[in-house]
Symmetry: C2
Subunit: 332 residues, 2 copies
């Protein structure tokens, strides 16, 4: 067995998030181009133009579900690596920089310059919900040859995001990674990512989970979609037969971890005011994976996840400009 | 006389700020590549690589001094336009989008794709000071033909940033705009931008201010550098002979507005904890210019500036990831 250098290798879309606060009406009006509140929708250049025209002032920050989870994992003091595709443009520079600034090993080659680094418009409404419109860009060039077998072998656990199923070549890369993990005694963790992702690829998700996944992450809705059960308890019973460890986030109800049949309830950490749930689920997974990496109990690991999720939900997204601030009330 | 459609036309560098929190030591270590704490330093690709290697996780937001001032002006309910140069890349998209989201008229053509949109690394230390390293990029293609004479004619006031003097063709564009303004009965406001900028171009600044500038903005240090006087009062006496209106920011001491010889002291608005002075001076100018545009008194205009500066100094720069947050204390 090869020696393990990294506790976690995240594999996922490399995206820069463009965050803005939007009214309910504005988000609702984007239904005409297929964007649904609370979901992640893939968009092309035409839709991107519409989104840019209709959204307010923005703040940008490196994102991507698996990369966010890894970022939280690193914040706890873990050791990690990332595989994902950017372009050699300004946003790609910054994405690489942000991972390296946390000590992440990240060496995936860049996509050709004709492809720009992927971006995700994250529209935040006053209820703290996020509606995402993602232009994959460079990520569409992500392919099996990007999976570095030595890196998979050197990692204790790989973490895969379901969103990769959205691009055919990325899906292939995903399957390659899962197979390599099995060869090298590397654990596989998977997050279901979104209900639409699960609905589009249910059979593949079930097959993959049964054959390769050790730790499955998802929220209640995603779990119900995967198992096609309307009742939460029935969905849990069905899902727990698919893998060793099941981690289900339940919003304000906290989370449930099922490890080899043992159920552990995790209470949500207190949040004074939820400003934005962007990344809360990703952060939760990062805390839990850190706990698992250190051999902590399900309860201890879940608590780390809950604290990280609460921190992610309360921080605000504002920059040098007063985003969405109305100064007109100051006028005498 | 042509009719005036815009209250303010800002002309300046089009930049996206990349903000990160840095330790004093880390910022000090960048002295080896000529970066000085509290100043703005221009950097090339080699220095940019060093800065990217040494700085922490970042948040990005549209910036640029004159553009920030205009953004504040728009937040008060003003009408405005912008002239400045981006490239047709992702950051350029976002820069255009952010101005348009505030209702700004912005139609300057893009630089060739070989030039990337300009970026400014803004390193924030715990004392709230900002140290900037700027790669001009697309802004180096900014030239006199980008100054739309009809737009200058349609504006009541143009606001120019001294930073434009850093690129020869942009400096020419700057002078073209100032001359057009005189032809079309458009007022000219100028901000001195930085001590190094003033030191490098003192004679040109003095000549320009005497001949074309109606409203001059600067902080104490910049004013002393311009007039080569060590004493603040002497510097004010010397500077007020150069233009109708002089606006000097004085940090916690507030600001001074001298209008046709009449001195008005502006008290700084209360700030509980200064998190970052990025953009505070730009915001101050935006508030003051809005007051002037509406015909308010120097005191009223100054107060709007002070409120805007305080708001800019207290907002925080944090995104979906926990920038610079240390979760290790949560580990049991």
């Amino acid at each position: 067995m090869s020696s393990k250098i990294y506790e976690l290798l995240s594999i996922g879309n490399a995206l820069v998030d463009i965050l803005s606060y939007e009214s309910e009406d504005n988000v609702a009006s984007l239904a005409k181009i297929g964007i649904e509140k609370g979901n992640m929708t893939l968009i092309g250049p035409d839709e991107a133009t519409t989104v840019l025209r209709q959204t307010g002032q923005s703040t940008m920050i490196s994102g991507g579900s698996a990369a966010n989870t890894l970022s939280t994992f690193m914040s706890f003091g873990g050791s990690g690596a990332f595989i994902g595709k950017v372009s050699d443009d300004r946003l790609g520079d910054v994405f690489r920089h942000d991972l390296k600034a946390q000590g992440v090993m990240y060496t995936t080659s860049s996509a050709p310059m004709s492809a720009q680094t992927g971006r995700s418009h994250v529209m935040i409404t006053s209820d703290g919900e996020r509606t995402m419109a993602t232009q994959l860009g460079a990520n569409e060039h992500f392919a099996p040859e990007d999976i570095d077998e030595a890196l998979v072998a050197a990692s204790k656990t790989i973490f895969l995001e379901g969103y990769l199923f959205d691009s055919p070549s990325a899906k292939e890369a995903f399957m390659t990674a899962a197979q390599m993990a099995q060869t090298h005694d590397t654990k596989v963790a998977l997050t279901l990512s979104s209900v639409s992702c699960v609905n589009a690829h249910r059979d593949d998700f079930v097959k993959l989970t049964k054959s390769h996944v050790d730790i499955l992450f998802g929220n209640e809705k995603e779990l119900k979609a995967l198992t096609m059960k309307d009742d939460f308890n029935e969905a849990v019973e069905a899902a727990k037969t698919l893998c060793d460890t099941l981690v289900v986030t339940r919003g304000s109800k906290g989370a449930l971890i099922v490890q080899e049949g043992v159920h552990t309830d995790i209470i949500a950490a207190k949040v004074e005011k939820i400003e934005d749930t962007t990344g809360a689920g990703d952060s939760f997974a990062g805390g839990v994976l850190f706990g698992f990496a250190k051999g902590f109990s399900a309860l201890e690991s879940g608590r780390l996840g809950a604290e990280a999720a609460a921190a992610a939900a309360t921080i605000s997204h504002i920059g040098a400009r007063s985003v969405n601030r109305d100064f007109s009330k100051l006028v005498p």
